[in-house]
């Protein structure tokens, strides 16, 4: 078994003295693991940093084997984000989220392309990257089958005045319809339904709390890796303080 694909490093764990077990999100082979010989050594350590774009060559005798990766650095996104605490927190949280959310060896080209676009924005310091990050999480939920329905009110069917999301169904609710239950509903920041709106810091945090609620409930609750929730918490803390 042998293939080559473009990918992003999602995780690198030390294996033995000098090797690393690498998790790469590839375009055509999904989230894929493999051993990198000398992955924690001086020459390759900088390549296998989380978030880096790589060209990955995977080889194994049988397809069910863990296999070996040979990776070549494409864009060093980790280095490009390292100096900025907020962008570094976003890169770290996005990688940890994908690592926890995606099944192994199942290609999701839409998720890959969407993630590639997000990482690009983080690296080139796009002004609205926090907005894009929240929208990316909302689209990821959709790709995983837990999408939010923000098109109309779940109670009245109205398309105007949407202000809450039902924690049970993930559907939007208007101010009027949600009046009695607003303590139990999740606030819906307007930038998630109106593309042109520039969100405030509080709205960004509300957006992350909204997507985070459904990620926690549907994705992280069943994931073995606990780190994604913490990484997201650090990002929220950063954006709240920005």
């Amino acid at each position: 078994m042998d293939w080559q694909d473009q990918g992003f490093v999602l995780a690198a764990r030390r294996h033995g003295e000098s090797d690393a077990i690498l998790t790469v999100l590839t375009r055509e082979h999904g989230r894929h693991l493999g051993i990198v010989k000398g992955g924690t050594g001086r020459r390759q350590r900088a390549v296998v940093e989380v978030g880096n774009a790589v060209m990955a060559h995977w080889h194994a005798r049988l397809s069910e084997h863990l296999g070996r990766f040979q990776v070549e650095l494409g864009t060093p996104h980790a280095a490009l984000c390292m100096a900025d605490p907020a962008r570094l927190a976003a890169l770290s949280a996005a990688c940890a989220t994908l690592d926890a959310a995606l099944p192994e060896r199942e290609p999701h080209e839409d998720v890959f392309d969407d993630f590639a676009a997000l990482v690009e924005q983080l690296s080139r310091k796009a002004v609205d990257w926090p907005t894009q990050y929240v929208r990316w999480e909302a689209r990821l939920l959709s790709s995983l089958g837990f999408g939010l329905d923000l098109s109309q009110c779940a109670v009245t069917g109205e398309r105007e005045g949407l202000a809450y999301v039902s924690p049970k169904t993930g559907r939007a609710v208007t101010v009027e319809a949600g009046k009695l239950h607003k303590d139990r509903l999740l606030p819906l920041p307007s930038f998630l339904i109106q593309g042109h709106v520039k969100p405030s810091r509080d709205e960004l945090v509300a957006g992350l709390r909204l997507t985070g609620y459904f990620l926690d409930r549907h994705v992280f609750a069943h994931a073995i890796k606990p780190g994604a929730t913490e990484a997201r918490a650090r990002l929220i803390e950063r954006l709240a303080a920005k």
């Binding site: 764990r13 900088a46 989380v50 980790a78 890169l91 770290s92 780190g227 913490e230």
Partner: protein, 197 residues
């Protein structure tokens, strides 16, 4: 077929870093052959380390005394505190002989993947030391990795209310390094941290 005692020795040695089953066998055989000159002094050294070496309650360093030799050394600059992830990093800085301040060992770095949060790090004693007064600068000597720099940013935020000077180690071209052979990430860091000459 070796005696069970030899098997056990090989097994224990093979768990050490740098050892595999083959090298553990070679080391075990060498120790047994040179009982007086190698095995007995090793037993003595191991016993001494087990009995006396412990973590310093102030900085987290490993030493035979608590507080450690660095914390009690009056010649060292108590106003500068260098924060490192591990004792190995402290030793690396000490080898240079270029730093004359004191240290604080965190015992790791924040890691989303490994689930290491602030609670798992030696942070409480760091803040207590700073609150105790006398510290004017904190040097964050943490790795140029995503986790290392996440920890550095986290600490620089937490240290802000104390009004100290907080610095971090420079990232960039290593001594003897030729640009042509450097990875893109290091070059980017070096460019971002360029200095006027």
């Amino acid at each position: 077929m070796a005696a069970p005692e030899i098997d056990r020795l090989i097994q224990v040695l093979s768990r050490l870093p740098g050892f595999g089953p083959r090298s553990a066998r070679r080391a075990a055989l060498s120790l047994i052959k040179r009982k007086e000159s190698a095995l007995l002094p090793l037993i003595d050294a191991l016993q001494g380390a087990a009995d006396h070496v412990r973590n310093c309650s102030q900085c987290g360093n490993l030493d035979g005394t608590d507080p450690c030799g660095i914390c009690t050394d009056e010649r060292r600059d108590a106003a500068t505190l260098c924060v490192v992830a591990d004792v190995a990093d402290l030793w690396a800085l000490e080898r240079t002989g270029a730093y004359k301040g004191r240290y604080h060992v965190l015992g790791g770095v924040l890691s989303a993947l490994d689930g290491i949060g602030p609670e798992q790090l030696n942070l409480g004693s760091l803040f207590r030391r700073i609150e105790g007064g006398g510290v004017k600068e904190v040097v964050l000597a943490l790795g140029a990795t995503v986790d290392g720099q996440t920890t550095a940013h986290f600490l620089s935020d937490r240290l802000q209310p104390f009004g100290l000077a907080v610095s971090r180690l420079a990232h960039g071209v290593p001594v003897g390094g030729e640009l042509d052979y450097l990875d893109d990430g290091t070059l980017i860091q070096a460019l971002q941290a360029r200095q006027s000459v």
